[in-house]
């Protein structure tokens, strides 16, 4: 027992890490990484089919089925999008928000979920400020849970609607995806990556279809270890270099509410990372510009870019409803469609 011996590396075996039991319910969509390529193709195809369907026929698909929207964070876009999607399939929706009395009184997520289930909810759409909340809710209720954003973690329907938007522009609306579908496509995700669930879901999804993902932002908002999050992900700190390589530019909002004391010089940030008309026009004149919203004009991008011809921001919103119709349908009909897609 000589403590001065220099340690010698030995080859040792260790306790294994258990395989994930999630999702418990085949209708759940917790992570963009849970979907197989077939599952993604199926959702894309259903999104188009449902979008083109006669609304009077469409709203019989989930007639009288009960879907709860459980929103712990205020959200206009995502909540309305899910609500419209569920309603246009004929489902009854109930909104429970963080302003609801039970949540204000400190009821746990588990108890709120169990209560919704007892009230007859057949699926729950959850937006929550804690990363992982959707996993907790699913394991406690075993209902189909659609993750509408959990903390800084994931927002899988956003990644799917982004994908639909990208495919419409670059691949003529292809619906069957393969590992080569986005081969040769570079997508830059720019800005507050650290706090972004949109970035994380896209980082999981796009490289599986062959896309190269460049992450771009200052160190405070983009730690080096982000590059280790998965294959196909590279950090490019120089915004202009990133623009030059990109067919898709995804701009993110600075999430002031999650900065947790982090000091950021906004003028410096804009000088380095704001997407302006001249930058876009000279460095990426054919690229499309995406933004998950809400946008802050004059900060991460200029009004001219937001409203300009390369902007696909409003298309994203429209694609959101179509994707969410497909995902809500899948949540309630997953068993009938032969299980996990």
């Amino acid at each position: 027992m000589n403590p001065t011996t220099t340690p010698v590396r030995r080859q040792l075996s260790h306790p294994p890490v258990d395989a994930s039991p999630f999702p418990y319910n085949p209708g759940s969509l917790l992570s963009a990484g849970d979907l197989s390529l077939d599952g993604i193709s199926h959702i894309l195809a259903r999104a188009t089919a449902l979008e083109n369907q006669d609304p009077l026929v469409r709203n019989r698909i989930l007639a009288k089925r009960r879907v709860a929207l459980l929103f712990y964070e205020s959200s206009t876009r995502t909540r309305t999008s899910f609500e419209l999607a569920a309603k246009s399939l004929g489902a009854d929706t109930t909104l429970v928000s963080s302003l609801s009395s039970s949540i204000e009184k400190g009821e746990s997520l588990k108890d709120t979920g169990l209560t919704l289930r007892a009230l007859g909810a057949e699926a729950i759409i959850l937006r929550h400020n804690s990363s992982g909340a959707a996993w907790l809710l699913e394991s406690e209720t075993r209902l189909p849970v659609l993750n509408a954003g959990d903390g800084m973690h994931e927002h899988p329907t956003q990644a799917l609607l982004d994908l639909r938007t990208i495919l419409a522009h670059l691949k003529a609306g292809a619906e069957t995806v393969t590992p080569e579908t986005l081969a040769g496509v570079t997508v830059s995700i720019v800005g507050d990556i650290l706090h972004s669930r949109v970035a994380r879901s896209n980082m999981l999804l796009l490289p599986r279809l062959g896309a190269r993902v460049l992450l771009c932002g200052p160190k405070e908002l983009l730690p080096e270890l982000a590059a280790l999050a998965g294959p196909g992900i590279t950090i490019e700190r120089d915004f202009e270099a990133a623009l030059r390589q990109s067919q898709v530019i995804m701009m993110l909002r600075i999430q002031a509410e999650r900065l947790a004391g982090l000091q950021l010089d906004l003028e410096e940030y804009k000088a380095a990372y704001q997407l302006t008309g001249p930058r876009l026009g000279t460095l990426a004149p054919t690229a499309i510009v995406l933004h998950p919203g809400p946008i802050i004009r004059g900060l991460e991008l200029t009004a001219g870019v937001a409203d300009g011809p390369q902007s696909a921001i409003l298309e994203q919103v429209k694609n959101g409803v179509a994707i969410r119709m497909a995902v809500v349908e899948r949540a309630l009909l997953a068993d009938k469609q032969g299980g996990r897609a």
Binding site: M1, N2, P3, T4, T5, P7, V8, R9, R10, L12, S13, H14, P15, V17, D18, S20, F22, S108, L109, K110, H128, S130, S131, G132, A133, W135, L136, E140, D150, G151, M152, H153, E154, L194, R197, R200, P223, L225, A226, L228, A229, G230, A260, G261
Partner: protein, 434 residues
């Protein structure tokens, strides 16, 4: 008090250098006689425990547990926590002071030691190093020591300020006590709920950097160095990073009295075991990288680690059934530490049985100055664990003696089954009647 004879077992007492078949007579709470099988002189009338085919060793000692009393009896009580300890082969535990209120007074220390607490085994309170564990003002160490405190710590929190830590080390040394540091620079870990690394990024959780631990250990070692007083003893609680261990290793090389403990979860698990937000894999310090985990194993095998301690931290089920970032830190460990140590350190990684036992008994006894414990010689306390080192079993947290079930080891295969735990001559745990 009745007498007990343990007959036919293999006595393994590393501190005394004994590894032989022996019959042992326990009387009046002490070891009265040790003899070759069948050769005890004064065993008449004693109750006989047949240990044929089993090992007997000095009872295990856990120098880092949270028994939650006073104040949080819904998580654990001294009675249930010590029952869990006895089931795990322990005959003594050192209880951390982060109770409600904090154990920073002789009154609370004495309250914990009162017979009304119905402890199944010996409890040794560790008193708070500072008033309310707030890190601002030192407590009365001499009074705490005479009330029964065996060490000083603000565990759950670090002693952050240089001058307070320096004063604590000096004042503790004066009365012959150890300062146990929870090494975490809380200025760097705010909002953190797991190790800072690729996993925390992927899971969208705020991370706790390895440097938050190692920087405090390095600072403390610097203070010990500057004090130039051989009585000063710094003990690093639940060491979890390679960098902190390297600092301890270097301090030892420099002849300083700096010791450390490692918890089973830190030599077995990594941040990968957090999985998808398993709150039973959330503790402080957090599960670290594979490289850190490997460094724990190396340091245990090569002798830099002085003790295995569980950091047994019970929490009620409903407290852990919440969002990961809202869940409290800590897991229980008293009923799994021995089984995991034998399964992995001994069986898998070939650490001799005697060394495993030393880390779980003789060495922590020495660190805390527990005289007459951690060894089984005539006259020492009759603290004994009788066990079958080869038996495999499966841990079921629901059947545990602890009030809580917050463990990542539920359903794991363990090795080494405790048959009896004897605390000062009384049977504190009997597997047949448990």
């Amino acid at each position: 008090m009745t007498a007990l004879v343990i007959r036919g077992g293999q006595l393994l007492d590393p501190a005394a250098g004994v590894d032989a078949l022996k019959d042992v007579l326990l009387k009046d709470g002490r070891v009265a006689e040790i003899a070759a099988p069948g050769k005890l002189k004064s065993a008449n009338g004693a109750e006989v425990l047949d240990a044929t085919g089993l090992y007997l060793a000095p009872g295990l000692i856990d120098m880092h547990v949270h028994l939650r009393e006073p104040g949080q009896g819904y998580k654990e009580t001294i009675a249930t926590g010590t029952a869990a300890a006895a089931a795990g082969g322990f005959t003594a535990v050192a209880a951390m002071p982060n109770t409600t209120p904090v154990n920073d007074s002789s009154e609370i220390t004495r309250w914990m030691l009162a017979p009304e607490r119905e402890a199944a085994i010996r409890v040794f309170p560790i008193a708070a190093a500072t008033r309310g564990s707030k890190g601002e003002m030192l407590n009365e160490y001499a009074a705490l020591k005479s009330a029964g405190a065996v060490a000083l710590s603000d565990d759950g929190r670090p002693i952050l300020k240089d001058n307070i830590m320096r004063e604590a080390l000096t004042a503790a040394a004066r009365v012959g006590l150890t300062v146990i540091q929870h090494a975490e620079d809380t200025r760097l870990t705010q909002g953190g709920s797991m190790n800072l690394g690729p996993m925390s990024f992927k899971l969208g959780l705020r991370g706790m950097a390895a440097e938050a631990e190692s920087s405090i250990v390095e600072r403390d070692i610097r203070l010990v160095t500057e004090l130039r007083d051989t009585r000063v003893h710094l003990h690093v609680a639940h060491t979890s990073t390679a960098a902190a261990l390297a600092a301890v290793r270097q301090a030892r090389r420099n002849g300083l009295r700096v010791t450390c403990e490692v918890a089973p979860h830190h030599f077995l698990l990594t941040e990968e075991h957090v999985g998808l937000y398993n709150t039973n894999a959330k503790m402080c310090p957090p599960l670290r990288s594979a490289a850190d985990r490997d460094a724990m194993i190396e340091a245990i095998l090569d002798g830099v680690v002085d003790a295995i301690a569980t950091d047994h931290a019970p929490h009620a089920v409903h407290e852990k059934e919440v969002e990961f970032d809202n869940a409290p830190n800590g897991i229980i460990g008293l009923e799994t530490a021995f089984g995991l140590s034998l399964r992995w350190l001994h069986k898998e990684w070939k650490l001799p049985l005697g060394r495993v036992l030393s880390l779980l008994s003789a060495q922590p006894a020495a660190l805390l100055g527990m005289k007459g414990r951690g060894t089984l010689t005539v006259g020492s306390f009759a603290d004994v664990v009788v066990f079958d080192p080869k038996a495999e079993w499966t841990y079921n947290a629901r059947e545990g003696k602890s009030k809580s079930r917050n463990t990542p080891f539920d359903g794991w295969t363990m090795q080494g089954k405790v048959r009896w735990t004897i605390s000062e001559g009384r049977i504190a745990y009997n597997a047949e009647t448990a």
